[in-house]
Symmetry: C2
Subunit: 438 residues, 2 copies
């Protein structure tokens, strides 16, 4: 294959991921040229502080603080946005598209919150956006949904999309540590930020779910409409009861589409999965997405969902796609965040059926189980298993944990029942609940 | 998006997979048109016996026995080859390419044996070949390797690529059945052919490995150069010993590339995997491919590797790719089976290091273990575990099974040692061995 003109790249941001992209581009030029049919040339690296030491050996003459120069440089074909955040990054991406540059981004918050605007701008300017790195790090999840499974109606997605949470939950499950101690381990090993809020409260996973829902179901989900719970409140006791019942707790981003009524249910929540379910076996900082399509059946994609080189792998795959001209075709073929008539509507969360795990602290006296069972029955919630161990001696006095697994019930119905249970005098502390996968 | 001209398709063959492709095309025209940007129109269905009843409701006026009419019809853009076999199919694909048609094929034997010829013909005629369905059924494995991981040097592939074998081994492992009985179950449930030879002897998995090796490492492996063992000889005793040692036996297609010396090792063989290794957890007729890339690290792709609709899902994904124009770009960007200088060479199988499982039937008398251990030590083969249970009372007299796990040793060295052990008078039957994953 004879090589066409160079494909000229500007890197906007050169932190962890940006340095990884620079490393791939600078260390493997022949490999990338043979796969793209042309040379991928790193032309400029825009940074805030050029004096900051960088992992990759970026030639100093490429480094600049002048973002505008990228906009003005007609040679530059594509810009890689890896600054993160949603304010400056949004403006920068809109300016790049207006200046005639294609854009590759790893910024899930940007796409989840401003995807409609950004994709409309790309279409208006005849540009393309590559965003494989925004979900699942190096795992080609976006390509699987948009290309590999293009013949399918996707019926459901279930993902472990936040490596920090999965690392913490793996520690709590396998080493029996508390949440606080597992979080400290994750921070020490670089799997969690100093302020881990956006990871552990489910925001990051919900950003990714918003992107996947758009791709898989063609629905622009307002980010605030995704119910989400994080993992910070998970007690070691619940991990242990889950194990006793044959389950493992994972933070899942889930979406289910019902082709009969065109409605989509979705949430981010800790979910109890059966021990041998494929997603239950995903350990440490790995990510995985379980996808069911109407033709293909069940499929799963697994790998590192974050980190320098895995994310850079996805960014550079997008660059190769655009250098070949394939990325532009893919972007045009997707009606992403467009204003086309939506045929999919969101299902009110309260109507979504689920099984539930319920842990109550109750007084250790006759009649308590009967009363609780009566209230559940009254609300048509059927019990699948019960665990009651012997009384806990301690400051709480004669109090015992009572653990119940339910059969399926509408979420709203369950939550109303839970409120009623918490109001009972025999229930001595707010009850704990989690979703249970079928 | 306004729709471009129809994309006109001929189906060559209408058995299980062909009927599935027809179903998707005929039952979901709007879905496919919205994803391809144009209507995918089924124009002709070439069959040998038009009277044969078919699952899909193919309009009778499309059915023909006249393959030449497809070649002559200038409207037809692409032909889907799903007849299977390598003689007629090879001729048909070459004729289709010469007639100016792109080709989508699910035929792994054709590509493994005649890939060089077929791909060269496509390039000569300026046509493209889509072959996602040839490996891993509906799992987008080919796209992951050629596009999603394009920034990587692939370092290793390990796949469960034959659903029949995996179904049989799952039955033997989980239900404790014999090989013969598990095979009969597979045949009764439609997971194995009446003549299962090409599945159970590893030929089918080796065909797929040849295709993957070409894509991942750019090396055209002569099919006969792939060492392969099947599963028909696997004894229930070895399944049980594997479990006792913490392992599960799977038929794997494996390839390892050493970037330092440019050499590739590959084989198809039953391999003992640790119980919780990702591939050990792949059950029944599912397939999975574990891929390690130098940037992305470990990734895994999982789903149904065969069957009507999963395979049709991959075929129609290729049709959408070609209708968009993306498939042509992908095909051109791959130097598949081309005569470019090969930089990768095959490693002689005898030099490939592996751990081994060894089961000997030995006389139950003093000094036997010492003699065997001495011979292994003499050949520099280090023992990692030993199991020797009590003597078997029975027709064999005082004979005991002796099970040994070794540390890594060159395969040729191990096989030579095995021959020496089998020649000992205290070894009463030919010894059994399997590879053990690290």
């Amino acid at each position: 294959m004879s090589l066409a003109a160079d494909y000229n790249i500007a890197l906007v941001g050169c932190g962890t991921v940006g340095s990884g992209v620079a490393r791939l581009l600078l260390e493997h030029p022949e490999r990338l040229a043979s796969r793209a049919g042309r040379r991928l040339r790193l032309c400029r690296v825009v940074v805030r502080d050029p004096a900051k030491p960088r992992a990759a050996a970026v030639p100093p003459e490429l480094v600049t603080t002048d973002f505008e120069a990228v906009l003005r440089d007609p040679r530059i074909d594509v810009a890689v946005e890896v600054v993160g955040g949603t304010d400056w990054a949004r403006r920068a991406v809109l300016d790049l598209l207006a200046a005639g540059k294609d854009v590759v981004t790893a910024n899930k918050a940007l796409l989840a919150l401003h995807g409609a605007e950004v994709f409309a701008a790309a279409r208006r300017h005849g540009r393309a956006i590559g965003f494989e790195a925004s979900v699942g790090g190096g795992i080609p999840i976006i390509a699987a949904l948009t290309q590999g499974l293009a013949a399918n109606q996707i019926l459901s997605l279930q993902g472990i999309l936040n490596g920090t949470c999965n690392f913490i939950l793996t520690g709590m499950t396998e080493r029996g540590t508390s949440y606080a101690s597992a979080l400290a381990d994750a921070q020490r090993l670089g799997y969690a930020e100093a302020d881990p809020t956006l990871d552990v409260d489910g925001t990051d996973a919900a950003h990714k779910l918003a992107i996947l829902a758009q791709i898989a179901f063609g629905v622009a989900v307002p980010f605030a409409a995704i119910p989400r719970r994080g993992i910070a409140q998970i007690d070691q006791a619940d991990i242990r009861y889950a194990r006793e019942l044959g389950y493992t707790i994972k933070l899942l981003a889930e979406a289910w589409y019902d082709p009969n009524d065109g409605r989509l249910a979705l949430h981010v929540a800790p979910v109890m999965l059966r021990h041998l379910a494929p997603l239950a076996l995903v350990r440490d900082a790995y990510n995985a997405l379980f996808v069911v399509g109407d033709a293909v059946g069940s499929t799963l994609y697994y790998g590192r969902g974050a980190g320098q080189m895995p994310t850079a792998s996805a960014v550079v795959a997008d660059l190769i796609d655009l250098a070949i001209g394939r990325g532009q075709l893919t972007f045009r073929s997707l009606e992403l965040w467009s204003d086309q008539a939506q045929t999919v509507s969101l299902r009110p969360p309260g109507t979504v059926p689920s099984r539930f795990y319920l842990r109550l602290l109750v007084e250790d006296r006759p009649g308590v189980l009967a009363e609780i069972a009566r209230i559940l029955a009254h609300h048509q919630i059927s019990i699948s298993s019960v665990i009651q161990h012997e009384a806990v001696d301690g400051p709480d006095g004669d109090v015992v944990p009572l653990v119940i697994l339910t059969h399926q019930a509408p979420t709203g119905n369950f939550l109303a029942t839970l409120a009623e249970l918490n109001g009972l005098s025999c229930v001595t502390a707010p009850s704990v609940y989690y979703h249970v996968a079928d």
